[in-house]
């Protein structure tokens, strides 16, 4: 492999072919899992940027006091205007706009499955954009609005965002766990292949040992051989993973909605993915060296 001269006939071992295949598969899976983790991180970031700095104020069509009549549409519009005026007068608020009824109807469409009934008491929604600096006391603002305007409620999306953050975090952790497990499985395969090689070539290794070979010399032989296998397998896994990601990116772009993670990776992320076969090679070589050195310690 690469013109590397081996004193041990490792190239003829059947385990080598399987190891190459296993490393290729591990690189493929690790790259996909890592791409998934990065896509989820991006999604979390998009949620953060999309929703942080925004709040929604609902004005519910409820009575101003127990026993009072339900507000008419004109009264509700007046309440909405009051809220908007209050919001626009609050330092830290950039914009406060009523969400048109047609958009509200669109949001409710999945649940109502059709046209919005006229008699359905739909709350008015006000989309509020905040500067972020200075940080606004949303709790106080919400309390103030609720006291001043009956039925006014401020939703800072905090709970929803926190749930999504947790979900994205868990998914990312699972993806990274998969990467770690794949690494572990790959290293176990290398240990197995090296131990098999040590057993098969025990006589030759004993001969080299008697002739004055250091443990490092023998370990270097195995490491060179494993590096060749890892490079071959890793290259195959890399090509396959890149093709898969490109296909997923193309299909994801067509069917994806805003919530689903799209696989549009930046150049830095691609670079990180391309490092996977290199890391796999380094891990395989280090594991092989460590296994050989550990095993040869039993020799006199």
């Amino acid at each position: 492999m690469f013109g590397y001269r081996l004193d041990l006939p490792l190239a003829d071992d059947a385990t080598g072919r399987f190891l190459s295949l296993i490393i290729g598969l591990m690189v493929y899976l690790a790259m996909l899992a890592l791409a998934g983790a990065m896509a989820l991180a991006d999604l979390g970031q998009r949620w953060e940027t999309g929703l942080s700095g925004r709040v929604t104020v609902q004005v519910l069509p409820i009575a101003s006091a127990p026993g009072a009549p339900v507000p008419t549409p004109a009264e509700l519009t007046a309440r909405v205007s009051t809220v908007i005026t209050m919001l626009r007068g609050t330092p830290g608020v950039i914009r406060a706009e009523v969400v048109p009824l047609a958009e509200v109807a669109k949001l409710l469409d999945p649940w109502l499955n059709g046209a919005l009934p006229d008699d359905l008491p739909v709350p008015a929604l006000i989309d509020v954009v905040l500067t972020g600096t200075p940080a606004l006391d949303l709790r106080a603002l919400g309390a103030h609005l609720a006291e001043t305007v009956p039925g006014a409620r401020l939703d800072d999306h905090g709970r929803w965002l926190a749930d999504l953050r947790t979900l994205a975090g868990v998914m990312r952790a699972i993806a990274l766990l998969i990467v770690a497990l794949v690494c572990g499985a790959g290293m176990a395969a290398v240990v197995f292949a090296v131990r098999t090689g040590l057993a098969i070539h025990q006589e030759v290794i004993n001969l080299l040992h008697v002739m004055g070979a250091t443990d490092g010399y023998v370990a270097h032989q195995f490491a060179g051989h494993i590096l060749g296998l890892a490079t071959r397998g890793g290259s195959g896994g890399l090509v396959l993973a890149v093709l898969t990601l490109i296909v997923m990116s193309l299909f994801g772009g067509e069917v994806g909605s805003g919530l689903l993670p799209t696989l549009t990776l930046g150049s830095g992320q691609w670079l990180l993915l391309l490092l996977v076969p290199l890391v796999a090679g380094v891990l395989a070589v280090v594991t092989a060296q460590w296994t050989v050195i550990k095993s040869l310690a039993a020799l006199p």
Partner: protein, 226 residues
């Protein structure tokens, strides 16, 4: 050169295969190691080339107490010992050249030096035309010469041979011992394990004789057979 004091060796929990072995080989000496099959000749040789550590006793090699040295200190000492094995133990996946070059590669010589030294030695032993031949394609005599070339390529101070004439007829065996004598004259200490009585009697060298797991040093007779 070599000193064994009260050395014992047992494999696992078995009985001692070597017991109270004590001898000293001065630098530049030539000894035969004799004894019946199973007497422990190969085990004693393995102790001498550091393929085994004794169960008890002291082994002094090149003025160093082997028992007190860490494992990592042993490879440089092993490189000062040449070993010719009974079945040559050549690596069949390597060419004749690469087999002979092994000790030099392990010692860290560069490829230029290796090319010069190995080529010269293989020409010297008459295998200049077989540099790239695999051992399995060569005759027993040629394989033997490769094995000897491999054992002396790094100019060992101690040369050990385990039944080197075992598979050879007496004529070729004699020539081999003459070759070892030539190396001995250049200063190499030589120990040859053999049970070939004809050869041993032909060459007048002192003997290390193993019997019932114990060793006796038998001096030279003072005459050499014609």
């Amino acid at each position: 050169m070599i000193r064994f004091d009260n050395v014992g060796l047992r494999y696992g929990n078995g009985p001692e295969v070597l017991r109270d072995i004590a001898f000293e080989l001065p630098p530049g000496s030539f000894h035969f190691l004799t004894g019946a099959s199973g007497a422990g000749k190969s085990s004693l040789l393995r102790l001498m080339y550091l393929g085994l550590r004794p169960t008890r006793g002291t082994v002094i090699l090149f003025d160093q107490n082997i028992a007190q040295l860490p494992r990592t200190a042993l490879p440089p000492i092993r490189r000062r010992i040449g070993v010719v094995f009974q079945n040559f133990r050549l690596l069949d996946h390597l060419s004749a050249f690469d087999n002979v070059a092994l000790p030099l590669r392990m010692a860290g010589f560069n490829e230029g030096q290796i090319l010069a030294h190995v080529g010269e030695l293989l020409h010297f032993v008459g295998l200049g035309d077989c540099l790239n031949a695999r051992p399995s394609t060569l005759s027993g005599g040629q394989q033997q010469r490769i094995a000897i070339a491999r054992s002396v390529i790094n100019r060992p101070r101690l040369l050990l041979a385990d039944e080197p004439t075992g598979n050879l007829d007496d004529g070729i065996g004699m020539r081999l011992i003459y070759l070892f004598e030539e190396l001995n004259k250049l200063g190499t200490t030589v120990v040859i394990a053999s049970h070939n009585q004809t050869l041993i009697e032909h060459f007048d060298h002192p003997r290390l004789h193993l019997e019932s797991s114990s060793l006796r040093v038998l001096p030279r007779r003072g005459t050499r057979m014609a």
